[in-house]
């Protein structure tokens, strides 16, 4: 059996995991991204590499993952089903595994109409649930979707997905998580948590169903860099809840950026107190340089070094 990924070891070992996020650029020049990756190398256990996020053409997740591997860092490759059919998804998975990627995050992806190619086809050949099952079956049963066998078994890959406690119908969301667990997810990352009360209500139901014992739940957080950014997320990002009180709090503070960070740190501290939350995923979009400070102030530094 190949060794587990660092992220998997961290979570399986019961350590509160910390992951970061890197959004590839709209060019092949990834020097800035590499710089950000380097800045947080001692503060995160793995890095999500987004897959053409918000349907905007960017350097591919797998391409960036190759560079991270060369830098000695651990990528979590995001795979949406929006742009690739089952042939390509399975092929890309094999390609990424072939150079050492072990963490995969399976997701649906925003509709193409939100991005810079609104005229493109939305592939959606598989849905996110089916992609999870596909990856699990490739790993555990050694078969492709079509039923043919892989020529050689896959190593120990770690399968993740996303859940959104802020989407509707709220009451159904824990059952969707249960379905994702049945489909093969081993860890899940949540949509950015700003409404922590709602998140706690969701967790209560998750615990009542015993799901927190079957999957590693990683809370997603984003530091609010400006009121404009908060408003944008509140109004334009689908499936997100940014409470008005939060915006009022930051608005009313002398140092708004500092207050944004304070909110983020408080959220992470509260997440650590919630039974069943296994880690935090910090999505400091266009504000990557603050990740080390957030992690340190949240009491999650230094990161455990696992053999």
């Amino acid at each position: 059996m190949n060794p587990a990924s660092n992220l998997q070891k961290m979570l399986d070992g019961g350590h509160f995991a910390v992951s970061g996020e890197l959004g590839p650029p709209k060019s092949a020049d990834i020097e800035t991204l590499k710089h950000h990756a380097d800045e947080m190398r001692n503060h995160v256990d793995a890095y999500n590499i987004t897959d053409n996020q918000t349907a905007i053409v960017r350097t591919s997740s797998i391409g960036v993952a190759a560079t991270l591997m060369q830098m000695g860092l651990e990528p979590t490759v995001q795979m949406t089903v929006r742009d690739r059919n089952r042939i390509c998804l399975q092929s890309d998975l094999l390609g990424a595994v072939s150079f050492g990627v072990r963490n995969f995050l399976c997701l649906q992806g925003d509709h193409a109409k939100f991005g810079n190619e609104p005229g493109s086809k939305n592939v959606n050949d598989l849905d996110s649930m089916q992609l999870l099952e596909t990856v699990k079956n490739m790993r555990d049963k050694g078969v492709f979707v079509g039923g043919e066998e892989l020529e050689h078994p896959l190593p120990n890959i770690f399968i993740g997905s996303v859940v959104n406690p802020f989407a509707d119908p709220f009451e159904y969301r824990p059952y969707r998580l249960a379905k994702k667990i049945a489909a093969g997810t081993q860890f899940v990352q949540t949509q950015c948590i700003f409404d922590i009360d709602r998140f706690e209500r969701w967790m209560e139901k998750v615990r009542a169903l015993g799901l927190h014992k079957k999957v590693h739940i990683i809370g997603g957080v984003t530091p609010i860099k400006s009121i404009g950014a908060a408003r944008y997320m509140q109004k334009n990002v689908s499936g997100m809840i940014v409470p008005e009180e939060l915006i009022t709090r930051i608005k009313g503070s002398e140092n708004k950026k500092q207050e944004g960070l304070n909110v983020c740190v408080e959220t992470i501290q509260r997440l650590q107190e919630i039974e069943g939350v296994a880690g935090v995923h910090v999505m400091a979009i266009a504000w990557e340089e603050v990740v080390p400070e957030i992690v340190e102030r949240s009491g999650l530094y230094p990161r455990p070094k696992l053999a």
């Binding site: 509709h111 109409k113 005229g119």
Partner: protein, 226 residues
């Protein structure tokens, strides 16, 4: 027209298993013309189901009715009361009909007896073929009447791929190469220069890829009576 094909009887019987009193509801327009879901097919389906249930010793009953169009409220309303006595309707309309019925008759369970196969036409008696995908941005002017989006298996817009041989598509010897057809037609009409232009990537947002489509025509909307 919309072309449909009746589902296999075993599949229909399985979906009807929880119900006791069933109305097999034919649709009097497209699926009547393509001989898959009209009055005659409704009667045949009900008879076949009754025979099956009789053999299995079940007490389920199937009656038949036919609606001129299951995709329009006014025809649904005309028959709505007569559907009250049934605990499920097996609709032999296309998917449009099944859903319009469901939307209009919220308390009724309406199940699909057909697979809606495509928009197309009868090539000859008993043979139908697809020729429009409803992409929302017609290109038939470019090819003078042959749709490459629908009839080319790869929806290519710039001529035939390398899999075209002897007028046939690489996916099957039974499928014509749309671009061979287009080429032949343009030669005949002395308009081959139409194939010289590099057609840019298609804007698929007018098709289903842009999400659920709705047409609003202010010019034909009725004024509110209030």
């Amino acid at each position: 027209m919309i072309v449909g094909e009746r589902k296999p009887l075993a599949e229909i019987a399985a979906m009807l298993a929880p119900f006791k009193k069933i109305c097999v509801l034919g649709c009097g327009t497209c699926v009547t013309v393509c001989l898959s879901g009209g009055e005659k097919e409704a009667a045949e389906t009900a008879a076949a189901l009754s025979l099956l249930w009789q053999k299995e010793g079940k007490e389920t009953e199937a009656s038949t009715l036919t609606m001129l169009r299951q995709c329009e409220y006014e025809y649904i309303d005309d028959l709505a009361e007569r559907l009250n006595e049934f605990d499920a309707v097996l609709s032999l309309a296309c998917g449009v009909g099944v859903q319009t019925m469901t939307t209009r008759l919220q308390d009724k369970i309406v199940l699909p007896g057909l697979n809606t196969t495509f928009m197309g036409y009868p090539v000859e008696q008993g043979v139908w073929t697809e020729n429009c995908l409803g992409c929302g941005n017609c290109v038939l002017d470019m090819t003078l009447g042959i749709c490459p989006i629908t009839r080319c298996s790869k929806s290519m817009l710039n001529g035939p791929c390398g899999g075209s041989q002897e007028g046939k598509c690489e996916i099957s010897k039974d499928v014509d190469c749309a671009w061979q057809l287009i080429y032949d037609r343009l030669i005949k009409l002395d308009a081959l220069e139409r194939m010289e232009t590099i057609q840019p990537p298609k804007d698929w947002s007018t098709s289903h890829h842009g999400g659920v489509r709705t047409t609003v025509r202010e010019d034909v909307k009725l004024e509110s009576s209030e």
